[in-house]
Structure formats: C-alpha cells, structure tokens
C-alpha cells in the first residue's frame, strides 16, 4: 500500500512512524501532536512558511529530538547513530565547506560515513552521474550555483543508499530543465523501492511526483493522504466543474437546464471561452450524472468534464485560509 495513513501499524514494518510528536522552540510550539505513517513511495509535505515542515523533517532525520512522542524509521530511532543508516536527508540549509570541491565533499562525507576507502571513488562517481554533476565535480562549492549545491545535497542524501529519503525544498533554485530531471530522478528512486518525503513550494512538480500529501498548518497535520481526501474535508467549499461542449450555441440552453437542479449553486460562462460552462456545486458526483443525462437527452457532445480546483495549490489555499 502506497501512501500515508494514520498511525495504526507497528513501527518496525513501516519506513516512517511518528506518534504524537511535539517539538518546542523555546516558547513557540513548532510541532503539535503529529502522528503519521509513511509507506513506500513519494509523499509530499506541504504547508505555508512556518507551518513546521522543516521541524518535522529535522526530527525525522534525527537532527532534533522530539519533546514528546516518538519517531521510528523501520523501528529504529533516527536520533541514534544506527538510525542515520536508514535516512538520507537533504536539508534546506545552504552552508558548506566552501573551500572543498563537489567531489572532495562527497568523498569526505563517504569516508566519514564509514564507507570503505577503496569503494568511495567509484561510488561517488556513480552518484555524481545520477544527479548530473559529473562534469562539474571539481568546481569549488563556494563557486557553485544554487542548483548545483542542491544537487550536491541530494547526492549526499543518497550516498549511503538509505531506504528513506527526506528532501527539504529540493527544487529551490533549480531551473525548469533541472527540475524536470530531478522529478525523473525521484520517480526512478521511487521505483527502486525507496520511500521519499519531499517538501516544496513548487506545486507543479509536486503534482507530477505524487498525489499523496501531508499538509501541515501551525504545527498540526490538517490532512494526510490523497489530495482528494483533503479536498473532501472542505465541506463548506463548493466545487467548480468545467464542462466543455462541441457546439457553442447550445451552451446557454445547457446552463439554463442544469441551473434548475437544487444541487447546483451557480453557473457561469467564462469570458473568451464560448464552449465552456462552469458549474458550482457541493455534490459533484450527482451533478456529473445530471450533466451526462442532459447531454445524452439533448444530443450535446461533451469534449471535457472535470473538477477544476482539486490541485494542491487550490486545496492548500483553501485549507490555509481557514
């Protein structure tokens, strides 16, 4: 089973298991009673600035210790040195050993991790090739662009081949081509059985990666699971359905007919789109059936029928505005 679920299973069989985790930063509660499990696959961690994403990621990566609750990665506490074998973390920080080159950095990190010195050069070359830094490996880190440093961080995260990858803002500073390559890389890692938790504000890329999201707000989990489940939680917010038909002359007739149904809250015809009708409703499944029925009865071919605002951006905005 791929995805996120509430904590119900034993901690040693899931990649990530968090139970009632809270973390204080002085007087400020950074994370409040967070419980969740991650299954193999890619999960996105979304939230506005200051919602606790980095705190949660630091806790999972064993850089912080929870004030209450516990975190386990395949049953092992990530704070301990044993737990560090199981998680690869690419943090949001941008501090490096500036006088080292990319190659030096990875070689020395590999040595520090205890990898046999004979195997280090070949391993590092392989990883540099995977992240696309092979041709620039001798560049000093202080001279690298932000994108190169991001890739270096990801390379560091996969150095020990851990089963869980935690990537904090991996797309930040990367150009569109680089982002596409990174998406491909993450999908490849997913297909090799890794569990990946990725946070980002680049929601287009997140949409390409996964439909499983964990949404944080003010240190609490407001939603965990498919985006649609999050969407369903917004009971008070109507859904907008876009209907595109072949013949623009019949659009007004369609609008008048569908408006008669009680489940339809409103209709409107967007400017510049003569073939499109937008229908507002809280019960999209029922309205779908009405629309289909009307189109069949009146011989109105439908080009497109979809719910418009189920993208993470809109859901996020809705959730966080509340």
């Amino acid at each position: 089973m791929i995805g996120v679920s509430p904590v119900a299973t034993k901690p040693d069989i899931v990649p990530l298991w968090c139970k009632k985790v809270s973390k204080w930063h002085g007087n400020f509660l950074g994370l409040n009673d967070v419980s969740l499990e991650l299954r193999p696959g890619i999960t996105a961690l979304l939230g506005s600035n200051g919602s606790g994403k980095s705190t949660l990621m630091n806790l999972i990566a064993g850089q912080l210790y929870p004030d209450t609750g516990s975190i386990r990665i395949f049953g092992v506490d990530p704070w301990t040195w044993r737990g560090k074998h199981l998680v690869g973390y690419s943090p949001d920080l941008d501090y490096f050993y500036s006088s080292w080159s990319i190659n030096d950095f990875l070689m020395r990190m590999a040595c520090l991790a205890g990898i046999e010195s004979k195997k280090v050069p070949s391993l590092v070359n392989e990883i540099l090739d995977v992240v696309g830094l092979l041709s620039v490996q001798t560049t000093l880190l202080r001279r690298c662009s932000l994108g190169m440093r991001q890739r270096a961080k990801i390379a560091h995260a996969i150095l020990m081949d851990p089963p869980l990858l935690v990537l904090d803002e991996p797309f930040r500073g990367i150009d569109p081509v680089g982002r596409r390559d990174l998406v491909q890389l993450l999908l490849k890692l997913q297909s090799s059985g890794k569990t990946i938790l990725v946070s980002s504000h680049e929601l287009e890329e997140i949409e390409k990666l996964t439909s499983q999201v964990v949404m944080l707000r003010s240190g609490r989990v407001v939603s965990a699971g498919p985006v649609s489940r999050a969407r369903d939680r917004l009971l008070n917010k109507p859904v907008e359905i876009a209907l595109e038909i072949e013949s623009a002359e019949q659009i007004r007739f369609l609008a008048q007919t569908v408006f008669n149904y009680s489940e339809v809250l409103g209709v409107h015809l967007p400017e510049g789109k003569a073939h499109t009708l937008m229908v507002l409703t809280r019960n999209p499944e029922i309205v779908f059936s009405y629309l289909v029925k009307i189109s069949i009865e009146n011989n109105i071919p439908i080009r497109r029928l979809e719910v418009v605002d189920e993208a993470p951006a809109e859901v996020m905005e809705s959730l966080f505005q509340g």
């Binding site: 630091n58 064993g62 040195w81 560090k84 949001d92 490096f96 991790a113 020990m160």
Partner: protein, 343 residues
C-alpha cells in the same frame, strides 16, 4: 561491541578526513604568528646584548648595586687585600665562582621572564586557542555541523576524532613556538626547552581539551562571560584589561570569545592571584612541574607562589585530569546538541 566498532570507525574516519584539514590561514593563526615574531624579536635583542643572566639585576633588597657590581667589588677587594694571600684567595675564588654562576644564570632569567610570564601567561593559551576552538567551533559557526551529525557513527566518535585531529597542530605550534623562542635566547633558552618541553606539551594538551570543549559545546558566550566577569569583578577591586575584555563576551555569542576570555582572565589573572585561586589555572600546574624540574638542578625559579606545594606527579595528574574531564564533558554535551535555525 557494535557500538565500540562504530566508535572506532567514527574516530578513524573523522581523523582521516580532518587531520590535515585544520584551517591554517585564518586570522587567529596570523595573529598568533605575529605575536611569536614579536616576542622572538624581543628575545633576540636581549640575546644580542647578552642579557640572559643576572649581571644587570640587583640582589633582593639591595639598592644601587647589581650582581655584576657586587662581583666587581669582591674582585677589587681581592686585589686590595693582595698582601693577605688567604683572604685574597678566598675573594678570588668567590668572585670566580660567582662569575661562573652569573654566566650560567640564563636559565632562571629566561624562564622567569619569558617562559613563566609571557609564554605560559599569554602565548601558550593563545596558540592552543587558535586551533582548538576552531576544531568544532568553526563547524558550529559555519553551520556545517549537520554534515557531521548526519553520519551513521556515534557523535562521541566525531568529537574524539576531531579532537585528535587538532591535537597535533596544537602541540606542534606550542612546542614549535617555544623552540623558536628558545633558539632566539641561545644556550639558556635551549637548555630551558630541553628541561621544560614536557610540561609545555602537557599544558597545551590540557588547554586544547578545554578550548575544544568550549568551541564544540557552548552556543552562547553571554551567560558564561557574565558569570566569569562577575566572579572576576568580585575578586578584583578595579577594572583590568583582561576582565573588561571579558565583558566583550557578554554581547557576542561566540564560543571563541569565552575561550579568549578564559585564556586572559582565568589563566592570566587568576594565575597570578594569591592563595588557592591560582590553582584554577592550567598554567599553575605547568609552573609547578617546571619549578620541581629546576629545583632538582638546584635552581629556584620563584620564591613563594606556592609552586613547590605540588609534586610533579600530582601536577601531571591534575593536568591530565582536567583534560580528561573536559573531554568527557564535551562528549556528553556534544551528543545532546540539536541543530536549530540552520537556514
């Protein structure tokens, strides 16, 4: 067993990566080098004038005559009493022996004026601080501790490995600096180096342990600096350079400042305080060892000061104990560090 294997692996790998990677060219290093050159220049000028002896110094309680004058008077007396062979012979023997003693009096003069005061009181803590605080302190300030903490080895091994990586630099710099000063002083200095290199090395290891701990584990200098300053201020009636420099640490969250303040306040100030206060400084125990070593040769370096109260063995044990205590404390506190606000 698994922990031990990982610990050894962690120490070995940290040592392998960081042993020769100490940041040599940072500003503290150049300041230390500058101080060494300055003191060496002074020592050379004293050597040039052949002043590493008691000739121009006055006997205690005497006004007007220095030792050289006293010997000249004895020689003059010997010549004046030439008609009395016995007395003249005695005077000649005394003046000859005294002249010989004066010529060889470089050790106490060099030790008291350079080793005890300038080297142990100012230069050695500074040299040790130069490398030791930067060991993990630079990682803290540069926010690169994460790269160490993310490794699958115990944090204690990282701490110990980093400490062992900076230790050779500390010892080389301390002994090397002492050797340079000793060579500049000529025979007296070289004799002093041969006699005192062990306590200097031991003191530098102890300082390294203390300053390494400060660099690794102290996130904010302010509270500790205030506490130190309060202690110092209640002990002293007036402001001194070292204690007011120490106030500086109150406003700047740098572990290096605490270390600097410790070096100047505890080591320099308390090291010259009466009674048992000076036993708080590492330099005191180094001086005890030197005192005992020179006493074995019949040379009393300093009257009073309490340096004769501790045997060499006791002083060595104290210094090693301090070093070990800070090492253990460092391992404990370093293991508890959480990385916050790294952005």
């Amino acid at each position: 067993m698994e922990f031990l294997k990982s610990f050894i692996l962690g120490v070995k790998s940290t040592l392998a990566v960081h042993l020769f990677r100490a940041k040599v060219g940072h500003s503290l290093f150049w300041v230390s080098a500058g101080f060494l050159l300055l003191v060496a220049a002074v020592v050379v000028s004293v050597s040039f004038k052949n002043q590493w002896n008691y000739k121009t110094l006055k006997p205690r309680g005497q006004a007007g005559f220095n030792f050289k004058n006293s010997i000249e008077m004895i020689e003059a007396g010997s010549m004046a009493l030439g008609h009395n062979a016995g007395v003249s012979a005695i005077c000649s023997a005394v003046s000859g022996a005294s002249s010989g003693l004066l010529i060889q009096s470089g050790l106490p003069v060099f030790t008291k004026n350079v080793v005890f005061s300038v080297l142990l009181g100012f230069l050695l803590p500074l040299w040790c601080l130069t490398f030791a605080v930067e060991g993990l302190g630079s990682e803290r300030e540069g926010k690169t501790l994460f790269w160490l903490f993310s490794k699958p080895v115990p944090r204690s091994s990282i701490y110990v490995g980093k400490f062992l990586a900076i230790l050779p630099w500390v010892i080389i710099w301390s002994l090397g600096g002492f050797f340079v000063l000793a060579v500049c002083a000529g025979d007296s200095g070289i004799f002093a180096f041969k006699l005192f290199w062990q306590p200097i090395a031991l003191a530098s290891i102890t300082y390294a342990s203390v300053f390494f701990f400060m660099g690794a584990c102290l996130p904010r200098a302010s509270l500790i600096a205030l506490a130190y300053a309060f202690v110092v201020e209640t002990l002293l009636a007036s402001i001194t350079y070292a204690s007011v420099f120490f106030f500086m640490g109150a406003c700047l969250p740098r572990a290096s400042l605490i270390a600097l303040a410790y070096a100047f306040v505890v080591e320099t100030l308390l090291g010259s305080m009466p009674g048992s206060l000076k036993q708080l400084s590492v330099a005191f125990y180094a001086r005890c060892i030197m005192f005992q070593k020179s006493s074995d040769l019949g040379v009393v370096l300093e009257q009073g000061g309490g340096y004769g109260d501790f045997s060499q063995t006791m002083a060595i044990c104290f210094m090693l104990g301090i070093a070990l205590m800070f090492l253990v404390a460092g391992i404990f506190f370093f293991g508890k560090i959480e990385l916050r606000g790294q952005r």
